[in-house]
């Protein structure tokens, strides 16, 4: 399918309201439309989603967007519907069984052009059959780095994607990600059969963001410093922490210090509260969100002025993604990372919890071989009770068991797992699983070390960051350009990012008036 640049610009303006394409979008879209497999590396906020949403409008069949992020799917579908594009929907584990059935019926009836789907839903045979029947024109794999075992965010359910895409009749494929090192790019291209000339990389450098590092000795010192910054920086902003407890306690400290327009955001809050906090932030009712990395995906807010990292993130990729939310409006923004020696330990603990112990691995294999006769179902409760692991670890165990040939046809649903046990494989499978798990774990530790190494370089943060993603190589050590100030090593003027003389909005609340409050919600027609 061929469309001229002029025609594509017309579609862009009509449906998305933009006059022109951003850098990189057009070469990706035109290659995709001419039927080639493409890898696009665009920084967060660089307009990734247009690269598959626009083709979805133009192509005759269905466009699939594979994404591991449920909140992002819901958000994008809502944003599209707001723009009047009603032919988009999603399939993921957040839906109930009747809801899934309804969506499947509607897909069958040809109601949709764009389907967001989670990787585990795309594993289900009846869904694959349906999609095949309906005809898929394009598969877009979002967060494509998740397929790489060298990536910071390897997801087991991504590995089977190439196979599934072949089953769907090998439609054109678009892999997109915000961050990928050279090694990860190569792995993605290899697995999805993408030719080198179809790898489109946009510079990771964000000239309007200045980078700062603050080294502290103790938690107390860090907290004091953070409170100072929050008092003086111009918002809105985000503070990222590695644990829920620190999120909660920092927000308490903020409230005690009179910073009341601050709220927590983490996975421990219920769905409605998270929506409320997000909406308040979007509408300007809140100045600061203190959050775990659960916050930010799919947040389309251009005027975020700063992101502070209270703990060092688990990888340079994660860090880049999180600070990528600053200043999408092009105005100056400030990224600051607090460095405390102990932070590494938090990540070590998190990684420990994420993987099964060797004992759990052995229990798991024993349970499978012990009960398999006549039973090919394990509920989540049984797994918890017999193997002693939670759902995340269980998912990992089942994946590696299948990869090691111990199980086949593993399907996860709301209640548990369904599978076929292959007799006589236990002996060989156990060491294989052990090796695979160990390798994945080591990758995570390596990412942590990369982060640590970056922090100890004591060289221009912008230059070393882009070098990490392989950009500066061969470019004669040229330093990437910064708009205003570069980083704490090259020079930084903090005052640029400070709020003007605090326009302290009067803190006393007006006395309660029911009629006025209700009229605010429901104005007279």
């Amino acid at each position: 399918m061929q469309a001229t640049e002029h025609e594509l610009c017309g579609v862009l303006e009509r449906h998305f309201g933009y006059r022109s394409f951003r850098e990189g979008q057009l070469p990706i879209i035109s290659r995709v439309l001419s039927g080639q497999n493409v890898l696009g590396i665009l920084s967060t906020g660089g307009g990734k989603s247009i690269t598959y949403q626009l083709p979805a409008l133009v192509l005759p069949g269905l466009t699939l967007v594979v994404s591991p992020l449920i909140s992002l799917m819901i958000d994008q579908v809502q944003q599209l519907r707001r723009k009047g594009f009603r032919h988009a929907t999603y399939l993921n584990s957040a839906l109930t069984l009747p809801e899934i059935r309804q969506v499947l019926d509607e897909i069958d009836a040809g109601r949709y052009k764009l389907l967001y789907i989670s990787p585990e839903k795309l594993q289900q045979p009846q869904i694959i059959r349906l999609l095949k029947r309906r005809g898929v024109s394009l598969v877009a794999v979002d967060e494509a780095h998740c397929i790489s075992q060298w990536g910071h965010d390897f997801r087991t359910d991504y590995l089977r994607l190439p196979e599934i895409i072949a089953e769907l009749g090998s439609p054109p494929l678009l892999a997109v990600t915000a961050t990928a090192t050279q090694a990860v790019q190569e792995e993605i291209s290899h697995l999805f059969h993408i030719r080198t000339k179809n790898i489109i990389i946009l510079s990771i450098n964000r000239p309007n963001i200045a980078y700062d590092l603050i080294e502290v000795e103790s938690d107390k010192e860090k907290r004091e410093h953070l409170m100072d910054q929050l008092q003086s920086l111009r918002g809105p902003g985000i503070v990222y922490c590695s644990t829920r407890q620190s999120v909660d306690s920092l927000v308490e400290a903020c409230h005690a210090a009179g910073l009341t327009r601050t709220h927590t955001y983490h996975g421990g809050m219920n769905a409605m509260e998270r929506m409320l906090v997000q909406e308040q932030f979007m509408q300007g009712q809140l100045d600061v969100i203190i959050a775990t990395n659960a916050f930010g995906m799919g947040i389309d807010k251009g005027d975020i002025r700063y992101v502070l990292h209270y703990h060092v993130p688990a990888s340079i990729e994660a860090y880049t993604q999180e600070i990528g939310r600053i200043g999408r409006d092009g105005q100056p923004g400030y990224a600051c990372l607090y460095v405390q020696p102990d932070d590494q330990l938090i990540h070590h603990r998190l990684i420990q919890n994420e993987f099964p112990t060797d004992e759990e691995l052995r229990y798991f294999v024993e349970v499978l071989s012990g009960i398999h006769k006549g039973i090919d179902i394990l509920t989540h409760q049984q797994i918890q009770a017999w193997v002693g692991v939670g759902e995340t670890v269980a998912r990992m165990l089942f994946f590696y068991a299948e990869r090691a040939g111990l199980l086949q046809d593993v399907v996860m649903n709301r209640d548990g797992y369904q599978f076929r046990y292959i007799d006589g494989q236990e002996k060989a499978a156990l060491p294989l699983m052990r090796t695979h798990l160990e390798r994945t774990k080591q990758t995570k530790y390596a990412k942590l070390q990369d982060m640590q190494a970056w922090l100890t370089k004591k060289d221009c943060l912008r230059k070393t960051l882009t070098a990490y993603f392989g950009e500066a190589e061969g470019e004669s050590e040229a330093k990437p350009k910064a708009d205003l100030y570069c980083c704490c090593y090259c020079g930084l003027d903090q005052s640029v990012y400070m709020a003007q003389e605090s326009d302290d909005e009067s803190r006393d609340l007006p006395s309660w008036d029911l009629e006025a409050a209700l009229r605010m919600l429901f104005p007279k027609r």
Binding site: R82, T96, M272, Q283, L514
Partner: protein
């Protein structure tokens, strides 16, 4: 801030002591945890009825196990609660509330006006429908607000697809959209206007519209200077009142005073012959029993364990007053079990069975206790 946290602790201690009081010497502290979380299990339903803890059922559905354990530990450390062996079986453990605990309870009871809001709550009957009512109201208010501001694009705060469907359906019926846009203000104003101002504030500020996103419980707690859990309880009480007012006035009058709000209370449970209170699996058993199958036949047909089917029978005794249990227990036996339970002042099966002597199965005792408890609340709800 510190004080605010201290009051949150104090409030939770008070509630938990209050909930534990009827259970002491009879159950473990865990029973209350399950009640507060609203566990859907026969044992929990029976505890609720036996010890009259309807108001606490599903009061804190998101309460974590860690938090619960920490609070119980704290109550024990403060010597408010003691872990003690059962009277009749020294190998099993229950708990008792110490005089010190009683004193703490008395104080908290007054401070947090327990007696004022407790009778207004009835989680076992209302927690679920009230939650659905609230989600519908929340989404409808947000939608109508955007319509009135003529901003047609927004992110729905309520993600539940069923609720979204319901709102869509309401607004797509001819003439309905105008009715909602014109009258929602009036209905809300007239029903909420009768409340105390602080409840009004609590209620209205949680709603989202085109010019404001609703506040979270923590924000309200801060603003109203109350413990967050107490804020949740006030809200639950206010919503339950509202829900009852809406559903009850509908039956008496022909012209409902709040037709729009009342329409949010309809078709909550799927229409089922059992009244919709049974679990899905128990409902299937119920239908088979009605068709004349025996429990044993159901066991082999549905590949269930006999104990599971018996659990279903107990559930039916609780929730289906119309079910004729005479095939399982005679009226005379029923009275006897009730009398013995009353006399011993206990709901513990083992003790009742010992007192009754031979000739009574555990199933019979459970059926009798369930029917007794269920019957009482059934009558209670209708007053």
């Amino acid at each position: 801030m510190i004080q605010w946290q201290a009051r949150e602790h104090l409030f939770l201690h008070t509630i938990i002591l209050d909930g534990l009081r009827p259970l002491q010497g009879e159950r473990t502290t865990n029973s209350l945890f399950h009640i507060l979380r609203g566990r859907r299990a026969n044992q929990t339903y029976q505890d609720v009825h036996m010890y009259k803890l309807h108001h606490y059922y599903r009061m804190f559905p998101a309460f974590s196990r860690e938090r619960w354990d920490a609070i119980v530990k704290n109550l024990v450390e403060q010597n408010f609660v003691q872990i003690v062996p059962f009277r009749h079986n020294a190998n099993k453990w229950t708990f008792s509330i110490t005089p010190l605990g009683e004193k703490a309870w008395e104080e908290g009871r007054g401070q947090f006006a327990l007696d004022q809001w407790k009778p207004r709550l009835n989680g076992i009957s209302y927690a679920q429908p009230v939650r659905l009512f609230w989600m519908r109201l929340h989404l409808m208010a947000q939608t109508i607000s955007h319509l009135l501001y003529q901003e047609l694009a927004f992110s729905p705060i309520v993600q539940d697809k069923g609720v979204q469907q319901w709102v869509k359906q309401q607004l797509s019926m001819p003439g309905h959209r105008d009715q909602w846009m014109n009258q929602l203000f009036d209905e809300l104003f007239s029903i909420v206007n009768k409340w105390e101002p602080f409840l009004q504030e609590l209620f209205i500020l949680q709603l989202s519209g085109a010019r404001q996103a609703g506040l979270t419980v923590n924000q309200l707690a801060y603003r109203l200077d109350q413990p967050p859990s107490l804020i949740g309880v006030y809200m639950q009480a206010a919503l339950t009142d509202m829900y009852r007012q809406l559903t009850e006035s509908g039956e008496r009058d022909h012209q409902h005073p709040y037709p729009l709000l009342a329409s949010m209370c309809t078709d909550h449970a799927p229409a089922q012959s059992s009244g919709g209170r049974l679990s899905q699996s128990a409902n299937a058993t119920y239908r088979m029993i009605q068709q004349g199958l025996t429990p044993e036949e159901i066991v082999s047909l549905r590949r269930l364990k006999l104990s599971t089917v018996e659990d279903h029978l107990v559930e039916m005794a609780l929730y289906c007053p119309q079910w004729d249990m005479s095939g399982y227990i005679t009226e005379e036996q029923l009275q006897r079990v009730a009398a013995v339970s009353q006399e011993l002042g206990t709901g513990r099966l083992r003790l009742i069975k010992d007192a009754l002597g031979d000739g009574y199965s555990y199933l019979q005792i459970r059926l009798a206790l369930a029917r007794q408890g269920g019957g009482k609340t059934y009558a209670g709800n209708r007053t």
